[in-house]
Symmetry: D2
């Protein structure tokens, strides 16, 4: 944890947008950034980056408290009023807010008793959820910006990075270089490892959940220097799993979410988008992925859109 | 129902996009429309149109099967790994897919045994949900387009339309005229009645749920002629409640969703957006409101974004 | 709270059955008591004391976290295997463990940081439930004993005690006297106020939930002296509501559950049983009301049986 | 299915207790039977036959719609009123009604479009549950009777019957003979296969769920002739799995539940009770296992009690 604490001093955004701020790096999405985002719509093609939200989702039940969505019908073509007329169907869902394609709120993780922006965890967290840094703050309004996709698998010339591979700053630079795309402050960075294929094609949920290739801890300063507004990926944790140092759990989460106030978007399906970008060479797009405004929630499912 | 059946022949979109189509009027959102939508981002200001998704939502429990979201914590700052390090919080939500700001899928309502595009209800609907016209079809990709807001309350010079007032085509025309904005094929139409104030300011959920001012049945041809891609409002049913003819339940739902394949977005919070548009005179914007891709679902909560 | 702390010294059962005990006064149900219970079956008539567990239950949603059960079908006559053969239906329930006829576990309430038998609340309670004094402990095995019904309404010659009436030890004695029944150590005491009629007949859930006639604080020593194994009633809290001293919340809960280790059974429907007992003069019976063995649970729904 | 239909004629109880009956063989529990049940309490020892109801339950998620209970805290030692005083904890459960130790209602299975007592399935079953033969009918009042345990594993001299072994009438007779116990009309029959050890000791849920030793179809007339009131076992389906005839799914369910109106109690933990009975030679007891009165429900979890 000493390495985390030391890096935290370097990358922290606490106080940068005021002591009451609960939106973190989303503050970087200025009107200018939104206009730049809109300007990336050059062809009028849209992509959904969300996995199907159903019983066939990526969860196995092996993560405490996480399971695939349970979907119940409360009306199935039920008649209402006179016969022959109006019939309706209604439904209910029970699901972990982080069971599939989703955002982490800035209250999702913490250490040393403090959440993002110095909020005492003990005061914020309870059976009612989080009183500070909840997901609804990220959704008011948000999350939309210019998105930039980095295809780390194609950059290495492989269909997918091997389970457990660590992504280094040099990998990110190489992908930017190869794709000839610029990453600007306020952009949302999406990176593709190809690891989602392990689940989507191979049906191997355990490997998908627990052995994702992903960012190593030294990508944290890289992200901070570029002032990205959010980071998204097709793995389950943005960062590499298992963690680089077996004694140090989820350091990228801790530094990104708690110290930088950087929203993490996980389990994004980037396959079709990446193939399209590879084809036409346009790697930036309008990105809109508004989290549900769950009061006091620590995460949210989302169906992200990329529009080129 | 004879009036419904007769109007249906006039406005039906069945077969228009193929016999297998499950996206309805979202097909009208062409690449050109998306580019036009992006061009509406002139100032870089974003608005969230979603209500808070929590125990304080608009539901009273008086609608069968609908209640406000139930939010449970499955981890509250739980330590993981070595002491002093990583702590995390996780949560679960149980909610009707149509309890707050939400989309109706094209399977939500039907009559005469057929869903949108002639799908037999009996074959599509079961305890598992809907096998056709499910909400995930509207989310792949979607829903994004140019949005146009009509402020019907300001057009009439009132803070909000009275409960139960019927909106006529002339009201829509008058608002377009007043606002000097053009509604084009493929646009999403959002109209504000101000009725949401009854709940948000007055706390009167029953009146909000059951007595919304809204579209009368003769707005259906108006919508069809203009080829809007979706229609959204701040009331609970798009159409007026109670229904114009007490014997004919939800005719606008039946004709819009089942015959036209027109997605309905309900309980949108348009207050801040409308005030801003009134101020600067820009009534169109980039609209992004992707429904969750709930497998076999008939609705979805959403946090819609409008970006000017 | 000083009165509570002082009374606690007098009635406490901490340590009485060992420092590890989690079953409290259920320890009083010895083999002799169970044989005495069986001997009360003289006529072979059984009564269910449970309210219907469904959407029409007593909850209004005005108690934080409590609502009526939500019941979902996951299969509705679904065929399995060859046509014409096996069809099945399955269902799911989501419910507060204390939404209707139910048991409080010995972890349900506490004060001064300690649960029953001196267990530190902070160590026992978490998002996972309670690590000590959970409801499954009361169910292994249990709860069964000789039951004795006291009809406090009939003793006062009224159909039901008025909302908010305080029951005193003299009322309990008078009912015992009138009914000529003996209350013995290890028995389960059930008392009827008639207050349930306010909900069942009058549909007034708010008054039912919040203004129940019930035990005053001076009944606590009375219960302790008689060594009852559990106490059940047709009101929602055993004790009177609003509480006698508006500054002192739920003192009977605190002293009964936390200090005595006395399980509380609430919202029991005693109407038919009481009428039968009045008719034949037999006020004791075999009582079996086993709580569900919910791991780490703090309460349980139950369908109690009385067999005369 | 012809064999089923033919046997049905022989064992059917339709109309036996009136055309409106929804309690089936529970009608056999007369006052005399209840008195006989009470007389079986000779020693005053109680046993809980319920499995723990929690995340460690027997479900794997491989059965559609069935999962282990999800338990959520809605208050965790929350203070109410003045500081230092009352604190409380509350919780919620979401669970399939048949995920662990449980009762099947008489609406759980059917064939040829009819439920028990000739009720048309189409009229009874909907998204709201079952309008007839629901589990609350079995709980009003009930289920209590004299229980008789048959230890089929000990009768064969094995710790547990092999997965998939078929139990024949001769096995039941041999166990009765060995145990020198009489089975009388109105008794509840419980039989132990020992198969539960596969889950409890071996942790092998798949084998436990899908390969239980159990009754063959020719036990159905045997049960009918003896007029048992209910049948319970430590396997998951009473009957053998896989089914004897791979083309004929769950014939014992169909004949028992739908034709005889015989409640099935599944996944009972009979280990400790059986060991005790073997030790002292008393194989009968008072049996109390009241299902929750879930309105329109098709099953119920239960914590059954046996008192000797």
């Amino acid at each position: 944890m000493d390495r985390v604490r030391s890096l935290a001093q370097r990358v922290s955004n606490w106080g940068r947008w005021g002591d009451e701020d609960e939106r973190g790096t989303l503050n970087l999405v200025t009107p200018e950034v939104l206009k730049r985002a809109a300007a990336a719509v050059r062809q009028g093609r849209a992509f959904s980056l969300g996995l199907a939200l159903g019983a066939d989702g990526p969860q196995t039940g092996s993560v405490v408290g996480r399971f695939n969505p349970q979907h119940y019908m409360t009306a199935i073509g039920a008649p209402f009023g006179a016969p022959g007329g109006f019939h309706y169907s209604d439904d209910v869902i029970c699901m972990p807010l982080q069971c599939g394609t989703q955002w982490d709120s800035l209250a999702h993780v913490h250490y040393d008793g403090l959440l993002y922006n110095g909020v005492p965890a003990e005061r914020a967290l309870s059976a009612s959820g989080t009183a500070r840094n909840a997901i609804d703050k990220l959704g008011s309004p948000g999350i939309a910006s210019r998105g930039v996709l980095l295809d780390l698998a194609r950059a290495r010339g492989v269909p997918r990075l091997a389970p457990g591979s660590v992504v280094r700053p040099a990998d990110l630079d190489a992908a930017l270089e190869r794709q000839r795309v610029e990453l600007l402050p306020g952009d949302v960075l999406l990176f593709r490892t190809g690891h989602l294929q392990v689940f989507l094609e191979g049906g191997d949920r355990e490997t998908y959940l627990w052995q994702g290739p992903g960012l190593g801890i030294d990508c944290i300063p890289w992200l901070r220097e570029r002032d990205v507004a959010a980071v998204c990926a097709d793995n389950t944790a943005i960062e590499v799993m298992p963690c680089e140092d077996p004694e140090l759990f989820y350091p990228v989460h801790l530094l990104g979410i708690r110290d930088m106030g950087l929203p993490f978007g996980e389990m994004f399906d980037l396959e079709a988008l990446a193939a399209d970008c590879e084809r036409d060479g346009q790697w930036d797009f309008f990105f809109a992925a508004p989290p549900l405004k769950v009061t006091a929630g620590v995460g949210s499912p989302v169906n992200p859109l990329a529009i080129k």
